[in-house]
Amino acid sequence: MQILAYAAYRFGTMLLTLLLVSVLIFWIINLPPGDFLSNQIAELRATGQEAGVAKAEFLRREYALDKSLPHQYMIWMGFLPGPHGFSGMIQGNFGWSFEFDRPVAEIVGESLWLTVLVNLAAVLFVYLVALPLGVLAAAKSRTMIDYTAAFVGYLGLATPNFLLALILFYYGHQYLGLPIGGLMAPEFEGQPMTWDKVRSILIHLIVPTFVIGTSGASAMMQRLRANMLDELGKPYVETAVAKGMRPARMLVKYPLRVAFNPFVADIGNLLPSMISGSVLVSVVLGLQTIGPVLLQALKSQDMFLSGFVLMFVALLTLIGTMISDVLLVLLDPRIRYEGRDA
């Protein structure tokens, strides 16, 4: 029951944090002088297209860009009625993209869950690779296995992701017949979900997962190895050996369990760094994820679009930290029982 109360409490603080983040995001995307429409109006005036100016002026009023910033924020979030009544983020209206001339929801639509999919796959990859390799490197420290793992790890850290992407595409296509670019075969785009589409996505996921995950995996592997080495020197490990445990079982039950905590705490940090780090990769690989959309929107001051994408990334991050906090409490009795009488 205690854990449920804690989870509820963490959820509450998460919502509060999200609210604060939304203020920050709105403030930051409005920091550069002007907005998409005023820029456009200036450009239209300069080229003498008065008809377009009228439309842009209309849009400015329509989206309340002529109001003060705090007022705009309240309308954007849906706390105050705009020109069309309550219609903001919390009502599910994500706004209008001026650049694409389409609703934001429509633009990001599919790429939202593709982003989640690609990054979840990468996180999974990071953990699946880093966990066994890190433990192995620590258990066999200062042997060829350790050195090889470290070498491969540093290679992964040092190679630019996009370069790795190009190389993998070339060889993957050459020898394994893997597809190049995109997250699904072109004929499935915009189609309803079918078994074939799922299979196409999975095959397309292989290279991006590998590319996005490598550097994260090697960093995490090194950290796990260092943590494990610290733990291996502690007396409770000796106690376990003196009991007569097999080394492999002992490693997993005792030191790994302790070294695992920072590992879990990293879930929250992993998500945002991957999303922002994978922008370049997404551009190179032609992935229909949210990264390139964000980049484009920020460049052209497409405020509602970039605001929504940033909010989405923030939400993912906060969910990630919430999950790792709750998991930590489940995993570590020292956190759970803090303050309980001995």
Partner: protein, 594 residues
């Protein structure tokens, strides 16, 4: 009788360096206790770990045989523990026929697993018992080692238990599979003296009950006198002397053993007390109370109040040593910090300091920033752990002259001359000024911290357990040094310790503290030969002395160290209120109802 374990000609080395254990032989019979005695670096720990082959990875067994003889329930002939395979070692020896207890009960249990799980694991590894039968067995074992509520212990995590209770859990873990041999590596060194006495008593009882043999690794001859039938004295990897305990303890033959004996602090025979009439007090603590507020884990929870010191009155005459003795949690360190103005005092208390005789007292408890600096020139501290109290990145010269720099006293050349003078004073060659702390041994480092404390020519030195991290022979040297410096420079010491024997030697007056209260206060010779308070009696009784004729009196220990309700009528608490501290004889105060 055939020995249960006989180690012959054991040599162990690290890499290509010369061996750290050389041609060591010893044997232990069933039901017998063998003590491996020596100071740090003597190779005692590594020799006993070699039996289970739990050694650092770079260590090599260079020669020797370790024969574990077959027992009634261990058929299959003798095993040479130096040669058998790792698999057989795991299955038949470790945790099964030979179990081990380690020095630090705080860190020897996994912090993330329940005690029950960790103890029952031994049974799952070595027997075919079902989970339920194993649990029954473990609960029984918990009860046997003295857990009042075995079920609760089963569910507890190590951090919920005190040090003594954790060591009991370790003992339960070692005993649950009924081993033939128990190896205990300094099992009580990290524990308070009364807890140590109880744990040693428990180990002895268990041994009598089960008939197992025991190898006890220790540096404390007092523990040896209380526990062992056979002794092996080790020094620098070699056996110096070995044989039955009694003759060795009564008349040590080897010079090194004699040296160890002479270094062991003893409770002195009665000396005539030094009492001069008029009192020139350098430090006075008047009615000092300190309450700490502990925030509970939940932000909405009520904070708990902890009273670290309660109504403490102490007076330190100039040129004398006042000692505060107590176990962990007694408030002795808080009292020392208050004396230095490092801790505030609850309203109503006062700390007064007189730099010179007849000077106006400084009110330490309400010092401002500037006055505090002036006060700190007069009062310095020597810390407990010489390994962490010196910065590893500063040369000795810089460490020593830093106090002078902070107080902006004299130029660089004079500072250096002063540092060299202090090094000579503490008995170190002056050419060591440019070295870093790692080049020094524990004893030398403690000399350095004393030199650092003396750099400002203080009048008062607060010593917080200055010798508890040191070997006995080094401890002896440091105490002698402290005495010499005190007499040569007319210093006054406030000396904090948990070790009565150390205090007996250096102090002019001793205050015994328990849970924030002074329970008894007297000159050491009065205190040790005529203790009145049950807690003082317990502390004295629990002190292991290297004398086979004075075994630890466990009954006294258990009574005095227990809750106040179990004390004799005169000393009991009145609800929450402790009885007052009353003078029984001149200079002898006891907390009791008269």
């Amino acid at each position: 009788m055939r020995p249960l374990l006989s180690v012959e000609d054991l040599s162990i080395g690290f890499g290509k360096d010369s061996p750290v254990v050389r041609n060591v032989s010893f044997s232990v019979n069933p039901g017998e206790t063998l003590a491996l005695v020596g100071e740090s670096g003597s190779g005692k720990t590594i020799s006993c770990r070699a039996v289970l082959r739990i050694l650092p990875r770079t260590a090599r067994l260079l020669s020797g045989r370790m024969i574990l003889s077959a027992g009634p329930d261990a058929p299959g002939g003798d095993l040479d523990l130096a040669r058998i395979g790792e698999r057989q070692m795991r299955r038949d020896v470790r945790g099964n026929r030979v179990a081990m207890i380690f020095q630090e009960p705080m860190r020897s249990l996994s912090p993330l697993h329940r005690i029950g799980n960790q103890v029952a694991e031994v049974l799952h590894l070595h027997t075919d018992l079902s989970a339920e039968a194993a649990k029954r067995e473990v609960l029984h074992c918990f009860e046997r080692v003295g857990f009042p509520d075995p079920d609760r212990t089963w569910r507890s995590y190590p951090f919920e238990l005190s040090g003594g209770m954790r060591q009991r859990a370790m003992i339960a873990m070692a005993m649950v599979a009924k081993p033939d041999l128990l190896i205990a590596d300094e099992p009580t060194t990290a524990l308070d003296v009364t807890t140590q006495a109880q744990v040693l008593g428990l180990m002895k009882d268990l041994q009598q009950e089960t008939g197992m043999a025991m190898i006890l690794v220790t540096h404390d001859l007092g523990v040896v006198a209380n526990m062992a039938e056979k002794v092996v004295v080790m020094h620098k990897g070699r056996v110096m002397e070995s044989g039955p305990a009694e003759p060795i303890l009564r008349a040590p033959a080897h010079p090194y053993t004699q040296h160890l004996f002479n270094a062991a602090p003893k409770i002195p025979e009665a000396i005539c007390p030094l009492r001069d009439g008029e009192e020139d007090l350098i430090l006075e603590l008047k009615n000092v109370t300190k309450t700490f507020t502990l925030r509970s884990g939940k932000s909405w929870g009520k904070p708990t109040l902890v009273r670290a010191c309660e109504g403490v009155n102490l007076a330190l005459p100039r040129g004398k040593t006042l000692a505060i003795v107590g176990e962990s949690g007694s408030g002795k360190t808080t009292a020392a910090r208050i004396a230095l103005g490092a801790e505030t005092v609850d309203p109503g208390g006062a700390v007064l300091f007189r730099a010179t005789a007849g000077a106006d007292p400084i009110a330490v408890h309400q010092l401002g920033r500037a006055d505090r600096r002036a006060f700190q020139r007069q009062a310095q501290m020597v810390f407990q752990d010489p390994y962490s109290s010196l910065s590893p990145r500063m040369r000795i010269l810089d460490t020593l002259s830093e106090p002078l720099e902070i107080h902006e006293i004299c130029d660089r050349a004079t500072q250096k001359a002063k540092a060299a003078e202090m090094l000579r004073l503490v008995g170190l060659p002056t050419d060591m000024l440019m070295r870093y702390p790692h080049a020094f041994s524990g004893g030398q480092r403690q000399r350095l911290s004393i030199a650092r404390a003396l750099m400002l020519d203080p009048a008062l030195l607060v010593c917080d357990e200055p010798t508890s991290a040191l070997d006995v022979s080094v401890q002896e040297q440091i105490l002698t040094l402290l005495e010499e410096i005190r007499d040569a420079r007319q210093l006054s010491y406030l000396f904090i310790s948990h070790d009565l024997a150390v205090v007996a030697r250096i102090a002019d007056e001793v205050a015994v503290m328990r849970r924030g209260l002074i329970v008894e206060q007297a000159p050491p010779e009065v205190l040790f030969h005529d203790p009145k308070h049950p807690y003082t009696k317990a502390l004295i009784a629990a002190q292991p002395v290297p004398d086979v004729d004075r075994p630890i009196n466990l009954k006294l220990v258990a009574q005095g160290a227990g809750a106040p309700e179990t004390w004799p009528e005169a000393f009991r608490f009145n609800g929450q209120d402790a009885p007052p501290l009353v003078p029984l004889d001149p200079g002898h105060k006891v907390r009791c109802h008269v």
